[in-house]
Amino acid sequence: MSEREVILEVGGVSKSFGGLKAVQDFGLTLAKGDLQGLIGPNGAGKTTVFNLLTGVYGPDVGDIRLGGVRINGLRPHRINGLGLARTFQNIRLFGELSVLDNVKLARHVRVRHSMLASVLRTAGSVNEETEIEDRAMELLRLFDLADRAHEDARSLPYGDQRRLEIARAMATDPKVLLLDEPAAGMNPQEKVEVAGLIRRVRDEFGMAVLLIEHDMGLVMKICEKITVLDYGKVIASGAPGVVRNDPKVIEAYLGVEDT
């Protein structure tokens, strides 16, 4: 694993909200093709880590490098443009836009023609719009959403909405994909499908995936490496088998036995 190209490098990142130390000294390395998990009890700071990585918050201290570029404090759309895309724990689709338009919007960050070209409908802009549509349909087919392309996104069933969020994130051509509880609220069958999908995304597109998930079975099954957060601190990190038996992890999840 070590000889693969490192894409995301996080070191010594901390963030406080007032007196609350949400994340302390967080570190993580993600290489091309990695599939890693970030777990921890509720309130451990997992989503805060995602928000720090994607630029929703800037870290107080520490360093986040994406493909060698320092991205601390950049606005989210800039970070996305550099190749980091995410999904949201509480689904944030563009509800009144069609499924297709949700994915097409995500291609916007790669658009080369100007707004004036759009208004003038130059050949370049028309052809690029065609490219966008083709690419979006391709992704929808991959995610099995193609026959719902023209429905409003909010009219999709819950599981499809989660998949659409992943498809939308993929449409930005990310190097790193952050998935915030991609299987939340799904039944066991759907979870198996999502797990397969995440693996496929990683294998076919060769991107690095970092996911937050509460379903231990899912995380243990698909992740090669797991980082465990508790009270904003990394308490364990390593292969699933190692993490599962780490006493600190067991303590964080189950509490200490009274003796």
């Binding site: 895309a85 944030r92 009144e96 919007l105 916007h108 065609t130 392309a149 930005t172």
Partner: protein, 471 residues
């Protein structure tokens, strides 16, 4: 993949624009003569419709596309109106020379006057386009540009403010503009002789004449609270529908492009839009700038309409609310909806002056003149409702009940010897309320008139909506 060549794209791009020019020419030289004697009232209504549609469609770019709630749109109109007015009023002295404004209306060519004949009554042949027309066209554009700069200034706070807070800022901006124009500009307008002497650049003059009596620069003599009178009546059906069509084409093309999706994504979920790579601040400002530009041009058109005395007092928040009503009534984000609502909001209060019967011809002065037209209007509305509505029978029943209730109201009013037109403002308001109850998401929702209905779940065609969409 299907690729489009440069020439083909150019032709396709130009066709709608040529269509707009064609429409404008048709309105001016085809429809206008048909209106015939006493047609100026209908012409004025058409001008109002066109200008209001421009305002509504431009505001749609802010309130509809990006979901920012701006309630100071009339201020951009005022800025554009006064900029254009100053340019044509004072500029004509330089561009055309002589005693211009007294008889300025006829200085314009055929495209800029309400005249429809090549030869005026006094036997003078009228050119199609004169220097005054070019001045007017330039003034409109300049008005748009100055308004766009204001749009940029107002767009800036929208980076930090949301919802009600932004609304307050735009409202405040609107009032500031109105008050500044009313209080800071001089009532007295320059005469032609004075213009030749007067400073074009006011600031330089202020420094040069520090010790002497202060001479107001041209742009500060704009009528003040009395209003800017004596403007040439250049605005014609041609200019209004040229710009109105242009506004709609631009809005439509933006909406149906990657930039339109970027605008809409901000309305839907700003955080997600930002996370998907949309520079939300940039596009919010762009929306304001674009909307302000077209509102500014609309203001310029309004200022030069015959029968209008330009006064900033009329371009305050009441006007802004009128525009918002159109946008909301049409459906937030719908371009054709905003235009349709502009038609309704302009015509309805006029129609209610002499409450028309929809089903029966009645005696003189009793809305009778509208009778044969009313059946056509009802037919069009009925067809549209049938075509668009999801629950067709219910929709048509509602329409039928509304029409019958209207006739019953008219009948009752006649029996009770009540003049319904006394209550026209009440009826207008009630009609708006009724429409919003029946169509809570606006007449057309976010869609357009020509959009096919969304297929029901499971019954829609398989993928590959475009023939070119292959892997």
């Amino acid at each position: 993949m299907e690729r489009v060549g440069g020439l083909a794209a150019m032709v396709r791009s130009a066709l709608p624009l040529l269509g707009v020019v064609g429409l404008a020419v048709l309105m001016q030289f085809g429809l206008k003569p048909l209106l015939g004697e006493g047609g100026s009232f209908y012409s004025k209504l058409l001008l109002d419709i066109g200008i209001n549609a421009m305002l509504a469609v431009s505001l749609t770019m802010v309130n509809g596309f990006t979901g920012q709630f701006s309630i100071g749109h009339a201020a951009f109109m005022a800025v554009g109106a006064y900029t254009a007015a100053i340019l044509t009023y004072y500029g004509s002295a330089y561009a055309v020379g002589g005693e211009v404004f007294a008889d300025a209306g006829v200085q314009g060519g055929l495209v800029s006057t309400m005249l429809t004949e090549r030869v005026r009554e006094d036997g003078v042949a009228v050119a199609w386009v004169t220097r005054s027309d070019l001045l007017f066209a330039g003034a409109l554009f300049a008005g748009g540009l100055v308004a766009a700069v204001c749009g940029w200034v107002v767009g800036l706070p929208s980076l930090r403010l949301k919802g009600d807070y932004l609304a307050i800022v735009t409202l405040g901006f609107g009032e500031v503009v109105r008050v500044l124009i009313q209080s800071q500009t001089a009532d007295v307008l320059y005469t032609v002789e004075e213009i030749k002497e007067a400073p074009v650049v006011g600031v330089a003059q202020m420094f040069a004449t520090r010790s002497e009596e202060w001479v107001a620069p041209l742009w500060l003599r704009a009528g003040g609270s009395l209003g800017f009178s004596g403007l040439p009546f250049y605005t014609s059906l041609f200019w209004v529908f040229l710009w109105c069509g242009l506004t709609m084409v631009v809005a439509y093309r933006i909406k149906n492009s990657t930039y339109g999706r970027a605008f809409l994504s901000i309305r839907e979920d700003e955080i997600a839009a930002e996370a998907m790579g949309v520079n939300t601040t940039r596009y919010k400002v762009r929306a304001f700038v674009l909307a302000a530009f077209f509102a500014g041009v609309a203001g310029g058109l309004f200022a030069h309409t015959s029968g209008v005395q330009l006064n900033a007092g009329e371009l305050g928040f009441v006007k802004s609310f009128d525009i918002i009503i159109m946008v909301v009534l049409g459906g937030l984000g719908s371009i054709s909806g905003a235009a349709l609502a502009a038609v309704i909001v302009t015509l309805l209060p006029e129609a209610l002056r002499d409450p028309p019967s929809l089903l029966f011809p009645m005696g003189e002065g009793d809305g009778a003149s509208f009778f044969p037209w009313s059946l056509i209007v009802l037919g069009v509305v009925g067809t549209a409702v049938w075509w668009r509505a999801e629950r067709k029978v219910r929709a048509v029943l509602v329409l039928l009940v509304t029409v019958l209730a209207w006739e019953a109201l008219r009948y009752g009013a006649r029996k009770a010897q009540v003049d319904l037109s006394d209550y026209r403002n009440v009826m207008y308001a009630l009609a708006l309320i009724l429409m919003m109850i029946l169509r809570p998401r606006g007449l057309l929702g976010v869609g357009e008139v020509w959009d096919r209905r969304k297929p029901k779940v499971g019954t829609q065609p398989k993928v590959g909506t475009r023939p070119g969409a292959t892997l």
